[in-house]
Symmetry: C3
Subunit: 358 residues, 3 copies
């Protein structure tokens, strides 16, 4: 793995190596305070994301490396009309690895085409966010002694929630996991995710009642319902309060259940849950820092490599992805990259945003 | 001391230890370039404050530590609806100490309830700003050889100026200090501050003429009159030009008088004073960095400690502080914390902002 | 050299020393990872400039030093009414060197009057930008083995483009350079720049056709036509597309020609040029980091020196420069500094912005 664009870039062996390094860092942090000495990370955040930004920054700093970058679009050269490709190449001139956050779907893949440095996707719109999934996997692995062999409930917006899709895809590679997918009917898990579970022969249940499901769970993964994913504000207001976990409901849960959340949380976990020892969402944030340390240490060792020559949109004929949030709509020089899918013959999908191209 | 919320958290012994370390750092800075190696500071500035932010950052960096954080509210997760408590816990997952600046009174105390890390108040609205007071004390101690045994004039807005109140409370613990409190009648020192001076048996005079007082002084502490503290702009405009110190007025002052100012200054010290050797306000800024180095070095050694369980507002009955700038008005889950005061029996005061609760 | 305000501050010997150090850093970067350990840079950017800011930050970080500062005006103390002089003195209290970027012409010279630390101009409006010129010189010297003895074409806005003027002034000190100055008639090189070329006996041609000139060139320096330099938007729209370099035009150029650009580029270099080995504009950005490393290492060794006493505007009589972008218009306390020019006897020029004072 040179670039981390999607959690699918992490092979089972890749995960084992990463988590093994992560455990060493957790257990002997003092051995790593100079591990990235002299290395510099470029953190390009085209939209604010305090938590993810802090996590990457502190990860790099704790390895003895350093960080430069921007935290919001106003401070960027995009205001001077510079393309993403050029910003990545210039920032790449100064750094040893790049972390990119963008509101545009496919931005990380697009940027990686022009990057001489390893590039990490820190979120591309509602599309991928692989280091969140690594965070979740690390938390489960560390606190349960492994990932396989558990019953996990995943609750909230399972339709639009990208962290949930990535998590399920990643977990599907492990054995003996039973899934309770807890959502209102309007926010059910998309078919392509369920198809993966079926393909791996996993046991899963789609349910809508959190409290009845609670006693079955080894892990409860709560998510917030995000306003920005809804076209219709009325639908958001109707659904946002569907699931609220309160302290008293936990009496019915296992004593060693883990309550996880990608944060920030809104009202879906009441503050009185925070004091319960099963609430591990703040520890989870800390594990996110540790796995990012392992990731940055691994990738910054790879060094600079010339980017492969990229065809331009003009050379390609310039077919256009219809998804208005796709990076190809804003960065019009990008080559068209598309693929077919064996399950839906005759249809074309955009490589950047995975949307269907008609 | 684990948290520095108010200057009252610094005991006389605490001050001696801190200043003693500070002197060592000033005299042998080379011994400390790695003192915080591997340590990370979270600097959470919910309102911009260049000077304070720079001072903390450079302090941490000069100890070989590093810093992440935000410098203004737009870049924060607060925009996503996250509570102060959660932001502090998440940032605390990544760091070794937290510095917090907020426009809300009591924000630092509120944040400390949820923090596993030592937390430093870098200003909570018009309430406390203890590291400014430490800066002032360090400057006097270093340039005069000690704090007691002097005549100090404090000039400007003594009513709303929080740095002035803290400074007086801190100085009141030292011996043989005579105070000239120089202000227009509208901006006199509040009673609770004067009560402290009386209680310690200190000699003080409330006067309104700066130039007649000048010859008496060992230290002149000028402050600016801050627009943001006035409800009525006309009153601000009337009072802002009351005191202007010019070079020629200094002929009447002692040759070794110190002219101090917390900065930024507006028109209250004319630029022609800057060249006078008695003008030490820029040196004062530098001493602010040194004492913050001593503070950060001391606090980052304390390590992580579980936060005590916090009752929620709901559990508490949810009484409300009437001060619109109190942190409890924005962070509504906070427990009500109040205290009585022996001098005003029957009245309740808010622990966060010190305002009266009826 | 203590301050770098204009490229004219770099003597031929100064350049030799700087470039020689730069070459060592490029060839043995590992020897310099601790060269600025314990040193802190203040980066004061009163207007956003991602590229320049990143370049200085990464330069300092790669030397083992650290950086604090602001990246845009909103986050600054200027909002509290603080003068440039005070901000420089306070930031200088915490740092070992200062980098300043401002939209005001002459801001760097003004700031240097009050600075105890070495100060570097990272751009003062449309006036000077000396580290860009150092970047250009380093690129040519490194990739051609030296600066003299070449034919260079400089193309685009030669009238308003400050990087071009500085570059020509700097190159004029080297021998055997032939210049092709390629621009539309409206954007010709100013007379004072041409006068310098004539004074040094250089051979130069003013032409308007890029493609006919291309075969003559060892170096092609492209620039963008900047919207912000034009009073009349219609004139900008008419001229912006004058020069566009495309891949197929390069067939007529020398095989070892260097294509340079200060970046960001807009449409003046088509994306299909990027893959050509003659396109070195991204390498150029990297050389900019290296020469800034050499500069920062050299200047941070100089230490703190008291600023010379500065007369105030009031003491000076307060004559006013008529240039509305001159720093003296915003910072009214600045002393008037003017000079005569032997070539135009009887006229006075502002030392800050070089504008004529009538």
């Amino acid at each position: 793995m040179r670039n981390l664009i999607s959690i699918e870039d992490v092979s089972p062996d890749g995960w084992d190596a990463l988590y093994s390094l992560c455990r060493e860092i957790i257990d002997r942090p003092g051995d790593y305070v100079d591990a990235c000495r002299g290395k510099v990370l470029a953190a390009l955040f085209y939209e604010p994301s305090t938590r993810t930004n802090f996590s990457f920054q502190s990860a790099m700093l704790r390895l003895g490396g350093s960080v430069f970058g921007f935290a919001e679009p106003n401070a960027t050269s995009a205001a001077k009309g510079e393309t993403l490709a050029d910003t990545v190449r210039v920032a790449g001139s100064y750094a040893d690895a790049i972390v990119l956050r963008s509101p545009l779907e496919g931005a990380a893949l697009a940027a990686s085409l022009y990057s001489e440095l390893p590039l990490i996707n820190a979120g591309d719109g509602g599309h991928h966010h692989p280091t969140q999934t690594l965070t979740d996997m690390t938390t489960i692995a560390r606190l349960r002694g492994g990932i396989g062999g558990m019953t996990i409930g995943i609750c909230g917006d399972l339709r639009y929630g990208r962290t949930v899709h990535s998590l399920i895809l990643a977990l599907s590679k492990f054995r003996d996991i039973t899934y309770y997918l807890i959502s209102p009917p309007e926010l059910r898990t998309p078919d392509y995710v369920l198809a993966r579970l079926r393909g791996e022969g996993a046991v899963f249940f789609e349910v809508s009642d959190l409290h009845r499901t609670l006693p079955e769970l080894d892990v409860l993964y709560m998510t917030r319902i995000q306003r920005e994913r809804f076209g219709d504000p009325a639908e958001y207001d109707r659904l946002r309060g569907t699931y609220v976990l309160r302290r008293d409901a936990l009496d019915a849960a296992r004593r060693d259940m883990l309550i996880m959340h990608p944060l920030p949380r809104l009202e879906e976990i009441a503050p009185d849950v925070d004091g319960d020892p099963r609430a591990v969402y703040f520890e989870q944030a800390r594990y996110g820092m540790y796995i990012r340390m392992a990731l940055l240490l691994t990738l910054t060792r790879l060094g600079r490599e010339p980017a492969a020559p990229v065809r331009t949109a003009a050379q390609n004929g310039g077919a256009v992805c219809p998804n208005p949030s796709c990076v190809t709509r804003a960065e019009t020089y990008l080559p068209q990259l598309s693929r077919e899918d064996a399950r839906t013959p005759g249809r074309l999908y955009c490589e950047y945003c995975d949307g269907e191209i008609k």
